[in-house]
């Protein structure tokens, strides 16, 4: 009993902080799938790009980590808008297979470019001093960094909740997700909402990439390596359901952490077994039909 309580507390803490990173990275993916019906296998690109910029800019420009993180997110946001215009928009209406291929091609090309620019190895990521200490939880050390991740996650959650549930922008966006042609018929400029949602998704992925760099190390292969994880969340979330994707992300984060804690020799085995079972059980998404 004395052993179990701290173990469970730590699994909860580590699992939730990991789940939050997954959630922040995957929101954009869930949105694009829900809004634009585009299976975007290149979404991890925005996360890794944000991470690289945030950790490279301080030395290049001589600015603090926080300033460079904000700058990186804004840059990725702009790049997201640009790419949506020149690339992702054109995938609309293609078959799932074609979307998979085009976006995985984009992903490959990006990985190559990132390697040319920064080399093939894992980027050394050093968070500033104030994030590197530990706090004490139940008499054991717990990294401040993980606390920071959870705080960032909560702020983003709050922001998204306000944006989606309490602004007319959010209501319009949800209308576009639920019934696109009806939204169009009422005079909503659906394409504009697509662009904005895509940019928001890209920016959030960048935040996820930056704050998550301590859990998902930044390297050129990042978008491909962690693709199964991001796709798991999207597959289980159903079309464009952000609340479901939060639940799913936390479940995946917790199961992965618990699995690695109790049976470390199984590695990623646990979480993917869960994925297969859940997708087979509810192919339309985990929470579909449970309002």
């Amino acid at each position: 009993m004395d052993q179990l309580t701290p173990a469970i507390t730590f699994i909860l803490l580590y699992g939730v902080s990991f789940g939050i990173v997954l959630f922040v990275i995957s929101i954009g993916l869930v949105l694009t799938l829900g809004l634009m019906r585009i299976v975007n296998l290149a979404h991890g690109v925005f996360a890794v790009l944000g991470g690289y910029l945030a950790f490279k800019l301080p030395t290049l420009l001589g600015i603090s980590f926080l300033a460079s993180a904000v700058l990186a997110v804004l840059l990725v946001l702009l790049i997201g808008i640009f790419l949506e215009r020149v690339f992702f928009r054109w995938l609309f209406g293609m078959s799932e297979l074609e979307q998979v291929l085009a976006t995985i091609g984009f992903c490959f090309a990006f990985i190559a470019l990132l390697t040319f620019a920064f080399g093939p190895n894992v980027l050394a990521t050093k968070y500033p001093e104030w994030l590197s200490g530990n706090i004490s939880v139940l008499g054991r050390p717990f990294p401040v960094y993980r606390v920071f991740v959870m705080v960032v996650g909560l702020v983003i959650l709050l922001g998204l909740w306000l944006l989606f549930d309490h602004t007319s922008f959010g209501a319009t966006l949800r209308a576009c997700v639920d019934n696109q042609s009806m939204a169009k018929a009422t005079g909503i400029n659906v394409n504009w909402y697509f662009s904005v949602a895509f940019a928001i998704g890209a920016g959030l992925a960048a935040i996820g990439g930056i704050v998550g760099a301590g859990m998902l190390p930044l390297e050129p292969l990042y978008p491909f390596k962690h693709l199964p994880l991001f796709l798991t969340i999207v597959a289980l979330s159903g079309f464009g359901n952000i609340k479901a994707s939060l639940v799913v992300s936390l479940v995946v984060g917790l199961v992965d952490t618990a699995g690695r804690y109790f049976v470390p020799e199984l590695g990623a085995f646990t979480v993917f077994t869960l994925l297969v079972i859940l997708v087979l059980w509810r192919p339309q998404g985990l929470l579909v039909g449970l309002k």
């Binding site: 799938l33 299976v39 690339f87 054109w90 293609m94 799932e96 297979l97 074609e98 998979v100 291929l101 085009a102 995985i104 091609g105 984009f106 992903c107 490959f108 090309a109 990006f110 990985i111 190559a112 470019l113 390697t115 040319f116 093939p120 050129p220 693709l227 199964p228 796709l231 798991t232 597959a235 020799e265 199984l266 590695g267 990623a268 085995f269 993917f272 077994t273 994925l275 297969v276 997708v279 087979l280 192919p283 339309q284």
Partner: protein, 319 residues
């Protein structure tokens, strides 16, 4: 008339393809070992092309069967069963039977969920193989594999002569079977299921059963390709089970053209040769090339190389 022209075109491409494959054997003797591995991947791509192009089964986990076939062949050889042809057939049967079980469960899905589940399964198999070092050798793989001469006559050689011709014969046999299958009533009903599963069901076709049979057949061909890879390289590594291998084969098929059997035959060599050449310069360079190629094919060249060639050829004859 139109139909005749099409078959004529196809046959001609076929003749040219097999002729070129043989020509490679004579003109590039230094590359026979590489050529044999290209032929194995072509066979693997053909197995995936059948599933994707003719049954409409999209999958990100086809390497699972390829890899299992490779490991079965490796284990058999290490256990002392070294007669090559029977080993290939056993490996193919194992993956085929496995796919019947898996198929009945997963082929109820389609589209994105199917993509996820196949990917999830292949990640699970990869992780399992990674941990089960006593069976798979883990990261080190299985080495020290040797096979008896083919038919008791042709000895495996270092320069890859036997390997090349042996895999070429296997590919030809499988290709003929596949072509026969696609043209059969069963193949036509497959096309119907691909285009409109609901309507086929309403017509009374046992959709799930037919899909499972097709899936098992493709898995068994993938297992055969895997076993051949073990035989020509005398080694099995974890790479055969990886997600990259599944993506590779998907790219090959689509690059070549998913809706023609020749798609796999053209996509695989083009992909592998581009990969081979560009990797000489920089290991990451091919990712850029293949990425751009993929985007190009989806946007500008629907139907891949096979459709492109067929368009050129038909223009020459009609116009």
């Amino acid at each position: 008339m139109e139909q005749n022209k099409l078959t004529f075109w196809r046959d001609r491409v076929g003749v040219i393809w097999w002729f070129m494959a043989l020509a490679c054997y004579f003109f590039f003797p230094d590359y026979r070992a590489f050529g044999a591995s290209v032929l194995v991947m072509t066979l693997f791509a053909l197995s995936f092309g059948l599933a994707l192009g003719f049954a409409g089964i999209i999958s990100l986990g086809h390497a699972m069967y390829f890899g299992i076939g490779a490991y079965v062949a490796g284990r058999l050889a290490l256990a002392g069963w070294q007669e090559p042809i029977s080993v290939v057939l056993i490996s193919g049967s194992v993956t085929g039977v496995l796919a019947i079980g898996i198929g009945f469960v997963i082929l109820r899905l389609s589209g994105l969920p199917l993509l996820m589940v196949t990917m999830g399964l292949s990640v699970i198999v990869f992780e399992a193989a990674n941990k089960a070092t006593s069976i798979t050798g883990g990261d080190d793989g299985l080495s020290g594999i040797s096979f008896e001469p083919v038919l008791g006559i042709f000895k495996w050689s270092l320069d890859g002569n036997v390997q090349f011709l042996y895999t070429l014969v296997w590919l030809a046999v499988v290709f003929l079977i596949a072509r026969r299958l696609v043209a059969s009533p069963y193949g036509l009903s497959m096309a119907g299921i691909r285009e409109n599963p609901l309507r086929m069901k309403l017509l009374g076709a046992p959709v799930l059963r037919r899909l499972v049979i097709m899936y098992a057949l493709c898995a068994s061909l993938a297992g055969i390709a895997g076993a051949l890879l073990t035989q020509i390289t005398a080694f099995v590594g974890l790479q055969v089970l990886s997600l990259e291998t599944s993506v590779d084969v998907l790219v090959m098929v689509v690059l070549g053209g998913a809706f023609s059997l020749y798609g796999a035959l053209m996509g695989a060599p083009v992909y592998l040769i581009v990969k081979y050449v560009t990797q000489q310069w920089n290991p990451f360079y091919w990712m850029l090339v293949i990425g751009v190629l993929l985007m190009g094919v989806t946007f500008f060249l629907k139907g891949g190389i096979a459709a492109f060639l067929s368009r050129i050829f038909q223009n020459r004859h009609t116009g």
